[in-house]
């Protein structure tokens, strides 16, 4: 079937087709599921604790930082409106679906949603607000950067300054961990009143991507020249073949016109054959065009 294009205005109206049971079906094809988080903050005016739920994303690994996106109306956006403000980001497991939803309900400012959900507070080691004991992971955070977006939402960059994890999770294999937490916001199905019924998902399958020789030994974010050196060191390329390919790459930088196109074809074809492990064709290509 052919590809269907939507402008953003049309997409946001949640286009549908006859026979679709849920009018949000197409729209959520365009919104990948995002990890769900809880968020414990303290109201700077009253001192009341607040528990919110939302989704988040990663920023950097080495310093461990994450980004929250907070709408201006929930209380947590007010509570994290200054640099250095402290919070805890608990990651809920699949046994906490109901408890993850309760903080999204419209309780008055100052009513602590964790008390409503009967969740247990976990004293933090570094920051002044507690975590949630029932969550397998609690990230203790400080606000490092805030950016207001389109008037109504704040991107809040957090630095992780401490973290706790259920010891049991450290003993599990990876699939055992990701099948337990976190949950993901998958979509909002339409309920019988025309409102939304949030649905959460959890990881259930672990797949391994191809590694060397399809890509560099060091994996993602490597330079392809490092991959070529790996291929040479493991005998997939000869010295002469590596020199030929390296020569083309060096020449490409300064080439133009027809020669540039020719070099691009040679290099792309060689790298393609290597990446798909078609070694006989690769040797023939490099030999023929040496």
């Amino acid at each position: 079937m052919s590809r269907l294009f939507y402008g953003i205005d049309e997409l946001l109206t949640q286009p549908t087709f006859p026979g679709m049971k849920d009018p949000t079906l197409v729209y959520y094809h365009f919104r990948p599921a995002r990890p769900a988080n809880l968020l414990v903050t303290r109201d700077p005016d009253s001192g009341d604790l607040n528990l919110a739920s939302g989704t988040y994303g990663p920023l950097t690994d080495r310093l461990y930082t994450i980004c929250l996106h907070l709408h201006s109306s929930p209380h947590s956006a007010r509570n994290l409106s200054s640099i250095g403000a402290e919070c805890v980001v608990p990651l809920p497991g699949k046994d906490l679906v109901r408890e993850t939803w309760i903080p999204a309900l419209p309780f008055p400012r100052g009513i602590f949603e964790a008390d409503v959900a009967e969740l247990t507070l976990l004293p933090s080691k570094v920051v002044s607000v507690p975590g949630i004991a029932e969550c397998p992971v609690n990230l203790e955070c400080r606000v490092e950067f805030i950016k207001q977006l389109y008037g109504r939402t704040f991107a809040v960059f957090l630095t992780i300054v401490g973290a706790s994890i259920d010891e049991e999770m450290l003993a599990r294999d990876r699939l055992g961990v990701i099948a337990q937490y976190p949950t993901y916001e998958v979509d909002d199905a339409t309920n019988v009143w025309g409102g939304s019924n949030e649905r959460l998902g959890v990881n259930a399958e672990l797949l391994e991507a191809p590694g060397f020789p399809a890509c560099a030994k060091r994996g993602f974010n490597s330079d392809m020249t490092a991959w070529l050196a790996d291929l040479r060191s493991e005998g997939y390329l000869s010295d002469v073949e590596l020199a030929t390919l390296g020569g083309w790459i060096r020449e490409l930088g300064a080439a133009s016109g027809e020669r540039r196109g020719e070099l691009r074809e040679h290099i792309t074809h060689a790298l393609r054959l290597a990446a798909w492990e078609e070694w006989d064709h690769l040797h023939a290509h490099l030999g023929a065009t040496e």
Binding site: W101, P108, L206, A275
Partner: protein, 306 residues
Amino acid sequence: MAKKRFFSIDEIDSLQHTDRVMDPAAYSLRAPMAQLLLVTRDPSMGSGSPRAESRGDGVCVRATTLCPLTWTPYSQSVNIPLDDERVVHNLSAPGAECVLAEPTRDQLREVAICGQRAPDGICEADIARLKLCKSLYVDVPSIDDCPVNLECVVDHVEQFHTHLIAFTRVVGGSIDGAYLFKEREEIISIYPTNVVDDVLDASGNVRRRVSLLRDIYPCPQFPYAPKSGWGNDFNKWMRDLRDEGYIADADYDLLIAWRKRWDELFMEGDSAERAALKTRLTDTSRFMVQGRWAKLHDYLADAPMP
């Protein structure tokens, strides 16, 4: 309560500063995140440029993860390592364009190939045998082999530690028609794949692992939440409960009066009345989310009007 292991910031740092892959505990402190292919184009080699000699010249494809930002407008950030000079150059100015394509579970090799940086002038999509196609709303091409492509414009960039954070707004998108009518349960078993971790294989080479969702759990609905689900207020939820007979008129009046009085007392942190009212509102809220309507009615019958 489960036994907890605490990591200080220095310990977290040491888990992450290993040679090729992070310590397994570091991955356990993270959520697997949707993996996408980021397509950018050198702005000096855009469509119509004399150097755009063929479809891939000036086009660069990377494997990346995204961070959700807003739904209206629909925006997210993508994080580019600062040493990835090609992509940093392509996205460093507001107004730059890009495409975020969602690969499927059957395209892990293609993603691994695009996880490497090709020499300048070579397009990773061509190496990965991914077919580029014209986008409708931006000049950067989409990936025809991916079920979904989001066409985006950069509204803001921020340098943050080791990365350039590009805030991108979706201006259009395309979907392979074959996926259009698939139910969510099937879609999430096909895409997106979530980046889980990097591990070493038997030869000491790095292998990336990804995950897919399968089971879906619906959150509670009315009467345990407003009929509208998200985005409503307490009073409207109480009206829904009264109109459907879960609470009596007198119960409703009392709850609304408590709510009004609570707002009046909110800044009076030392007030005994505030503390008592907080307990009442918490208790009644708990009964509502647990569906204990008889208990709620009894509780309200004994409670004072403020």
